[in-house]
Each structure stands twice: as structure tokens, then as C-alpha cells.
């Protein structure tokens, strides 16, 4: 039995996941918690948010995120992929900055219009 705190929403439910019995989740108050509890033990994922350089706009960096959660152990790999990127304004919110970043299936998208 593994105890976890759910991070899908700010409520932070205290989950219990039974690894030996098909990863059944208890303590969750919504289906997203169940999904999280199972995924966290089998293949944990996270949304990565960061910035990339941006020229010609009102600010020197543009905030970005992964369009969906990526494997937790690839976070630093994804960060490294952002290092060389420079956008040019105008940038639209949701604009794809790097498609399928590091083969994760997630895109890096801009989270602010610049």
C-alpha cells in the first residue's frame, strides 16, 4: 500500500494505492484522483512550465507549457530543449513552440500572447 497526496487539484486528497491488487485507489474524491494515483505509481507524469526567449515583444521571454503531462523523468530533457529556442513576436497564446517535444507526444505551447 502506497500513500500519496493527489496533485491534480489544489484540494490535495490523501490517496492510498494498493500496488499489489491492481493499483486500486482509495481516498480520492473524484475520478481524476483515481487516475492520478494509478499513473503516479506506474508512469508518473508532470506538466512542465517554463519560458523561452522572445525577441521583438514587450518582454524578453515568453511563458510556455507542455500541452499535456510528460513523463516525470523527462522534465530536465524537455527543459534543455527549450534552451536554444527564440520566438519572434507576435506570439499567439496556444501557439506551438516545439511539436512533440523530446518524443513525449506533448507540444510546447506558448501560454501568453506577446
Amino acid at each position: 500500500m502506497k500513500e500519496l497526496i493527489c496533485i491534480t487539484c489544489p484540494k490535495g486528497c490523501h490517496l492510498k494505492v494498493d500496488e499489489e491488487h491492481g493499483y486500486t485507489v482509495t481516498g480520492n474524491s473524484c475520478p481524476r484522483g483515481e487516475e492520478y494515483g494509478r499513473a503516479e505509481l506506474i508512469h508518473p507524469t508532470r506538466v512542465v512550465t517554463s519560458t523561452v526567449r522572445c525577441t521583438g515583444g514587450s518582454r524578453p521571454h515568453c511563458p510556455v507549457k507542455t500541452s499535456r503531462p510528460i513523463p516525470k523523468d523527462q522534465m530536465f530533457e524537455v527543459m534543455a530543449a527549450l534552451d536554444g529556442v527564440t520566438l519572434t513576436a507576435p506570439v499567439a497564446i496556444g501557439q506551438v513552440v516545439i511539436p512533440n517535444v523530446c518524443g513525449t507526444g506533448a507540444d510546447i505551447v506558448a501560454t501568453k500572447a506577446i
Binding site: V52, L82, D83
Partner: protein, 478 residues
């Protein structure tokens, strides 16, 4: 070749430069830090003492009383925040009541005007927040408060405007006498002059020893302070002392010219310029302050700081002396700020007696004004913003300081090179958020105006870097 080189640009060095700038004398000021007023001058009680503490007949007594009288006019001329708030010394016991009598007699001997002993009731009527336990108090109407760093800056700026040279980041490494001249070695080359003034504060003994046989030692004494939010600024109307003891004038509670409340200091011997605060020191300051004013709300603290006073080991008086054209202004502990302009007069007198010819400058310019947006009326503000829109952008929200004021400072006679130097000139970052909001914006303005990268901007002295570099493969990765 200069006529006079002044070592150190704290309040004493700046006042000496100002005084000499009145004459046709070539003056150079050498300062090791990247700004003036960066030692004891920026970290003290900011009080101009009336002058009842020093022993009659001492240099300290004479120069203190004359100094505060001069300060009043100088601050007005040079646009330095100054308020004649008066001071009280509180007595909590019959013995302390006797001390008040002694202080009053001493003050009168020193020529301090208007001293008066008030009863407990009288003093509480004047200052309702004082402790019920106060039995009596000595009131001194000539005591005042000022902005010590702006006072120093104003004197230095005026000296520079009148032809004095100021070299910042210039540290004296050796002094020798060669061919009838003083040769001063620094990290930025050699300077020579007929006369030297040693106004090096805590380092005055070391500077003296470079030029002459050892004579005195500076024993730095650290004082720790609380600075409280403006919400506490009216807790007392005048500067409130306790009876002096062997450690000095004791813990005071005082308004500041910026509208805050200052509380401190303790007195603790330290080595060198150790301006750290300690849990014990701060606790001591709190306890003593609450004895005078029990309602001080320390929860409103916005900053702690400490300053070192440059006491001389050999004497409790100022050391002001000349030999061979080398003038010491050493051991300038409290009331050094109060006495500064009178010390400067005295130093110039010493130089004159040593043969320096003093011919007045016919065009000596003794005026200084800066925009203080916050203090203007709505109509004046509107006019100013229309003239120059930079005054319309508020950078420091706590103190209402505008970009225009920061730009003025950057184009002034002694431009700021660091975030704290901006703070000392225009008050940005002095308020309750302590630069949390305006810090990044001041860095941006400094970088833009000085043509530097943001990571080159210092918080205060050199070495106080703020940013290690750009993210995203930028300089932070090097």
C-alpha cells in the same frame, strides 16, 4: 597635483570637501566604496543632537552645538530632509532625575539653548505614548532629525558642483611624503597633494598609520536598529532617549524625516566594519524601547540594520589634529553627524594654520533642489507630468517615487551606481515592501541608463551582485 586630498566620503569627508569648495583650493576626495555615505553615515540614528551629552570644554561639545546650528541652515539650502523635532531624555528613578539635572547643567555650559526639565505629567501630555513610569524628562528643543545619507550626498554634490573631484571605488593602499608633497597610492593610481585629510571613519587608524607613527586605535562599536513602518511613525513626536550610561546614549525611539519610526541602538564592540545584527542585540533593543514607549508595535518592523561607530580607544573626544600637512579627523563617533559642518570648519582652520592659502571663490554655488513628487500638490504634479512624462511613472509604490526622479539622480553630479545608491538618492525601495516590487524595475532602469547588463547591477557595494545571469542557455549557465 592637488592642494588637498580628503580620504573618505562619509559625512565628515563630504563636509570638509564642501567647506574647502568655498575657497580657491584644488580638492580631491577618495572613497573606497562605489558611493558616498556608505559607511557609518548611512547606518546611525539620524539624530542631530542638541549637545548636552559631551563634557564642557571638549571639542565634541563645542563642535556639536555649533554643528547643529549650521545643519539647520545647510539642510534648508541644500534641500536635505530635516525636522526640528526636539528631544527628551527620560528619567525612571530619582537617580536618573539627578542625571537630568547634570545633563541640563552640562548642556547650559555647552551653550545649548532652551533646555527644560519637565515632570512626568507634563512630558506625557506632550508625548501620550510614553511609559507611565517616566518621572521626569529633559527637553531639548534644538535637537533635530535629518536624512544622514542625503545630507552627506548634498554636501558632496555641492563640493563637486564647485569643482571638487570625487573618485569612487578608490581605496588608499599607501601614503608617503615625497619632495614636500603627500603621495597617496590607491588601487586606481597615485594622487599627490600638499595636504591630506584623514576622514576614513572606522579605517582612520589604518590610514593614519600609513602616513605617521601609530597614535590611536579605532574601536568600532556596533549599534543595531529597528526601522518600523509609517503606521508607527507618529508613535512619538520627538526623539526619546533614556539616561546615558557607560555604553553611550542608550536606546532611543524617534520619528524619522521619512515618516518611519527608528528604534535603537545597542552598543557592542566589534572588529572592523561588522554590521551584522544579532538575535540578542535586537531583543535588547526591543526591551529597552518598550521601557520608554510600551506601545511600540514591533510587528510593524520593515527593516533591521546595524552601523558601527568609530570610537577612538585613547580618548572619548574627537581627534582633530594636524602635523606636517596631514590632518586627522578620527574617532568621529556620535555626535559626529551633528558636528560635521563644524568639524569641517575646524579642519579648514587647521589647514589654514598649516599654511594653506584660503581665498574665497567668488562664484561658490550653494544651492540644491530635487523633485520630490510625493510632496507636491495635485496641481504641481499635473504640471510636472505634463512637462516630463517620466514623472508620471511611479516606480516605487510604497514611497511614491517616479522614474523621473530616478533619472534626475542618474544625471546628477554623483550618479548612483547601485540599487541602494538609488534608494539613498530618491527613497525608492525604502518603504514597507523593501524593494520587493520596485527592485527589478530599478535594476532595469540602471542597466538601461548606465549601459550595463542587468547582471552587472549591484545591490549596494561592489560584490553585492543580484543576478547570476540569463536563463535559457544564457549567462547563468556559464
Amino acid at each position: 597635483m592637488q592642494d588637498v586630498i580628503i580620504i573618505g566620503c562619509g559625512i565628515v569627508g563630504a563636509a570638509a570637501a564642501f567647506e574647502l569648495a568655498k575657497y580657491q583650493v584644488r580638492v580631491t576626495v577618495l572613497e573606497k566604496e562605489n558611493d558616498v555615505a556608505n559607511g557609518t553615515t548611512k547606518a546611525n540614528s539620524a539624530i542631530l543632537h542638541a549637545g548636552y551629552d559631551p563634557l564642557p570644554g571638549s571639542l565634541m561639545a563645542r563642535l556639536n552645538v555649533r554643528g547643529v546650528a549650521l545643519a539647520k541652515k545647510l539642510c534648508q539650502k541644500l534641500d536635505v530632509p530635516y525636522r526640528a523635532c526636539g528631544s527628551l531624555v527620560l528619567a525612571f528613578s530619582p537617580e536618573e532625575c539627578a542625571t537630568l539635572e547634570t545633563l541640563k547643567a552640562r548642556g547650559e555650559a555647552n551653550g545649548v539653548p532652551g533646555l527644560e526639565i519637565l515632570s512626568g505629567e507634563e512630558v506625557r501630555r506632550r508625548e501620550p505614548n510614553l511609559s507611565e513610569k517616566v518621572l521626569a524628562a529633559l527637553y531639548a528643543p534644538t535637537a533635530a532629525i535629518c536624512s544622514p545619507w542625503e545630507y552627506c550626498l548634498a554636501l558632496a554634490e555641492t563640493a563637486v558642483r564647485n569643482g571638487a573631484e570625487l573618485h569612487l571605488e578608490t581605496e588608499v593602499t599607501g601614503i608617503e611624503k615625497a619632495g614636500g608633497l603627500w603621495l597617496v597610492h590607491t588601487n586606481r593610481g597615485d594622487f599627490s597633494a600638499r595636504y591630506l585629510i584623514n576622514a576614513a571613519g572606522v579605517c582612520a587608524d589604518a590610514v593614519h598609520d600609513m602616513a605617521a607613527p601609530h597614535e590611536f586605535s579605532i574601536r568600532p562599536s556596533r549599534g543595531e536598529y529597528y526601522l518600523l513602518d509609517k503606521a508607527e511613525g507618529r508613535r512619538v513626536g520627538c526623539t526619546v532617549f533614556q539616561c546615558p550610561n557607560q555604553d553611550g546614549k542608550g536606546v532611543l525611539v524617534s520619528p524619522t524625516v521619512h515618516g518611519n519610526l527608528i528604534v535603537g541602538p545597542n552598543a557592542c564592540p566589534v572588529v572592523g566594519e561588522d554590521t551584522s545584527t544579532t538575535a540578542e542585540g535586537l531583543a535588547f533593543v526591543r526591551e529597552k524601547a518598550l521601557k520608554s514607549v510600551p506601545s511600540v508595535a514591533f510587528g510593524q518592523s520593515i527593516r533591521n540594520f546595524a552601523g558601527v561607530r568609530a570610537h577612538a580607544a585613547e580618548t572619548s573626544d574627537f581627534i582633530l589634529q594636524e602635523k606636517d600637512g596631514f590632518v586627522d579627523a578620527a574617532g568621529i563617533c556620535s555626535p559626529g553627524l551633528s558636528a560635521a559642518p563644524a568639524i569641517a570648519e575646524y579642519l579648514v582652520e587647521l589647514l589654514k594654520n598649516a599654511g594653506l592659502t584660503l581665498e574665497e571663490k567668488p562664484d561658490f554655488f550653494c544651492q540644491r533642489r530635487r523633485v520630490r513628487f510625493k510632496e507636491l500638490s495635485p496641481a504641481q504634479r499635473a504640471e510636472l507630468v505634463q512637462e516630463n512624462p517620466a514623472y508620471g511613472r511611479v516606480i516605487c509604490r510604497c514611497e511614491t517615487v517616479t522614474e523621473g526622479e530616478i533619472l534626475d539622480a542618474l544625471h546628477g553630479p554623483i550618479p548612483p551606481r547601485s540599487v541602494d545608491a538609488v534608494k539613498r538618492r530618491v527613497n525608492a525601495g525604502m518603504g514597507r515592501c523593501q524593494g520587493g516590487f520596485c527592485g527589478p524595475r530599478v535594476v532595469e532602469i540602471l542597466a538601461r541608463e548606465l549601459g550595463l547588463w542587468p547582471e552587472q547591477i549591484q545591490q549596494d557595494k561592489n560584490g553585492t551582485w543580484l543576478l547570476c545571469g540569463e536563463t535559457k542557455g544564457g549567462s547563468a549557465y556559464v
